[in-house]
Amino acid sequence: MANIAAQRIKREFKEVVKSEEVAKCAIKVELLNDNYTELKGEIAGPPDTPYEGGNFVLEIRVPETYPFNPPKVRFITKIWHPNISSVTGAICLDILKDQWAAAMTLRTVLLSLQALLSAAEPDDPQDAVVARQYKENLEMFQLTARHWTSMYAGGPNVNTDCDSKIKRLVDMGVDDHQALVALSSYNWDIERATEQLFS
């Protein structure tokens, strides 16, 4: 079985490398070991989304039963998205679960993840806090997601107001990621974020 897995990954690796998306720098894969079980994926944040300009790194683990079972994928780059855990990077996407089909490839997975960044499904959330913000205050969500993209994925849109709020909390002795999480969870209300951090 592992034989087919390696055979397939070898082939798919080539497929991605040759693909037009690579030419456009939209997706990328890298092998991390010789037996084709661990890979690093990369997707570019889609245009006209808060993720635009960011580059998101993915951990891809290929199970022995691949392609009869889906690859295990999670975000290494921290991201603010209803279907992706802001803590672990775990992804809630049907094709990575029961909607996987053996004829799908890593390229399909990466493109589907990119599509997920363009169109979130807040009714099937992985991160409840993010999903609530998305549904209740879309503008706030976009601002937050954009700021996460600038902090972790190299995105160009730095929000100075957000930055100064984070700095105020950092000055109180919390680390900047903790500060970002607290502020993001409380719609950038610094008082409530402080209260949550020090209670």
Binding site: I4, R11, A101, A102, A103, M104
Partner: protein, 483 residues
């Protein structure tokens, strides 16, 4: 199906044919030929339920009969008939109706056919399998009705991986976004290892039984019996093999008069609140008159202090004399009529008080049931001694066991009246319910008291008490068991 074991529950409450022995199977086996068929048991016994306990082969036969009927009716393969039936909860009328209306749509909805007709493009002798990415000759390839071609080794591996994850009837095609299901014959054609074939058949059997509303797996440990009933209701089912008693509808412990959802809610609540309610579990209380510590060692809630001989109720510590009277109030919870105007805090306290009232009684009857089981064991050994020393035969003492069984049955129902009452809205119906519950409770305690002193109690007196208790039980169920 001549070899099924037919057993039916109930038929035991003889409201209309009054005589001495009532409640046990012993009576029926002796009196099989007595003419009782004029009485419709459905009308007399609110718990009457007809069911069969089937072995796996019998279930297979039952399912296959339906499969064959459908397969012959519409000229489709038995495997496809199975997929159709499984996706329609084995309702053959429904399948037939839909099939006549729109056969194509029915096949698409049941995931037998793809939504749009397949286009097959391959004419070359060699094709590349999209899954294992190897080029093989055309004859190594197979497809479902969707025409998505994959090599036979990939099909085998796909099925094995799915089966190892417990999936059987819902294995789909390997193509992207293709929902077409692999029917049984197709799967079996590609499974070669005997243990895989066996696993596949075992898992699909479980799926079929679970999707069939007239079939239920016996919840008993390591029991493979499947119960069949044409009237799938929340009724008492007793497994003929392992004797487990359960509700046919939800498979949990039988719970009349409470409904399936309500008992689930109640049991969850009890599990969540077990800490709060823990203090009740104490086995000792002080005598309300002389304050000596009394331990409860039987199931009866009618207590008599060994010191001062005061008769009192274990539950409410009230005088037993007033309990026995026409209006037994111990089971009733009196709500504070002004509670709506009280503070949130007071309301919360009142809610807890109310819950504890019902929980206490629920718990207490559950404990009494266990204690009465011990009483029965003691009784058994005492009777054994009597029989050994020539004081009558087992048949002579049989009535005592009959009485003990009836007591257990009545107390069981009584226990399950408390969650029912807890979730009931106030009003005249609740008043009637609590009145009947109180009546039942009083008669059950009388019966328990008499059984604990069985050897000195007059047999006629005991049997009279049995009759009364069972009548109270059936009356309550008739009025409130709504299935």
């Amino acid at each position: 199906m001549e070899d099924t074991m037919t057993s039916s529950q109930g038929g035991e409450s003889d409201m209309d044919c009054s005589d001495n022995e009532y409640y046990d199977e012993y009576y029926y086996t002796l009196n099989d030929d007595i003419d009782i068929e004029q009485i419709d048991p459905r009308k007399i016994d609110p718990e009457y339920f007809e069911f069969n306990c089937l072995f796996e082969e019998q279930v297979d036969r039952l399912l296959n009969e339906t499969v064959e009927t459908l397969s012959n009716m519409h000229q489709i393969s038995p495997s496809l008939a199975k997929v159709l039936l499984h996706s329609h909860q084995w309702n053959i009328q429904e399948v037939t109706r839909k099939f006549k209306e729109n056969p194509t749509q029915t096949l698409i909805a049941s995931r037998i056919k793809p939504p749009s007709p397949p286009i097959s493009l391959t004419f070359s002798r060699y094709i590349n399998c999209p899954v294992c990415v190897t080029s093989q000759s055309f004859d190594k390839f197979y497809s479902l009705s969707c025409a998505h071609m994959f090599c036979k080794d990939c099909w085998t591996m796909h099925f094995e991986v799915q089966i190892n994850q417990g999936i059987s009837t819902s294995i789909a095609c390997m193509a992207r976004e293709c929902k077409v299901l692999a029917p049984e014959d197709f799967v079996l054609k590609h499974l070669h290892r005997p243990n895989m074939r066996e696993k596949y058949q075992q898992f699909s059997f479980q799926d079929y039984v679970k999707s069939h509303p007239e079939l239920k797996f016996c919840p008993g440990p390591n029991c493979s019996i499947v119960v069949h009933s044409q009237e799938p209701k929340a009724k008492r089912t007793t497994c003929s093999q392992c004797k487990t008693i359960f509700c046919f509808r939800c498979g949990c412990d039988y719970h009349a008069p409470t409904e399936c959802q309500v008992i689930k809610k109640w049991l969850t609540k009890c599990a969540d609140d077990s800490e709060t309610a823990n203090y009740i579990s104490a086995h000792t209380k002080d005598c309300p008159k002389c304050h000596i510590c009394i331990e409860k060692n039987g199931g009866c809630n009618h207590m008599q202090c060994y010191n001062c001989k005061h008769d009192f109720c274990w539950m409410c510590l009230g005088d037993w004399k007033s309990h026995g009277s026409e209006y037994y109030e111990c089971s009733r919870y009196r709500e504070n009529p002004n509670i709506a105007h009280e503070s949130v805090h007071a309301q919360a306290r009142e809610a807890l008080k109310k819950y504890l009232h019902y929980y206490e009684r629920w718990e207490n009857h559950s404990k009494s049931l266990k204690l009465e089981e011990q009483t029965l064991e003691k009784l058994r050994s005492r009777i054994n001694q009597k029989v050994m020393s020539g004081l009558g035969t087992w048949i002579d003492w049989q009535y005592l066991f009959t009485a003990a069984n009836l007591l257990a049955k009545c107390r069981y129902t009584l226990q399950y009246t408390y969650p029912y009452a807890y979730y009931m809205d106030g009003g005249s119906r609740k008043e009637l319910f609590e009145y009947q519950q109180a009546q039942l409770e009083a008669e059950i305690e009388n019966l328990s008291w008499k059984i604990e002193r069985a050897e000195t109690t007059d047999r006629g007196d005991l049997e009279n008490q049995m009759d009364i208790a069972e009548k109270r039980r059936t009356t309550l169920l008739k009025d409130f068991l709504d299935v």
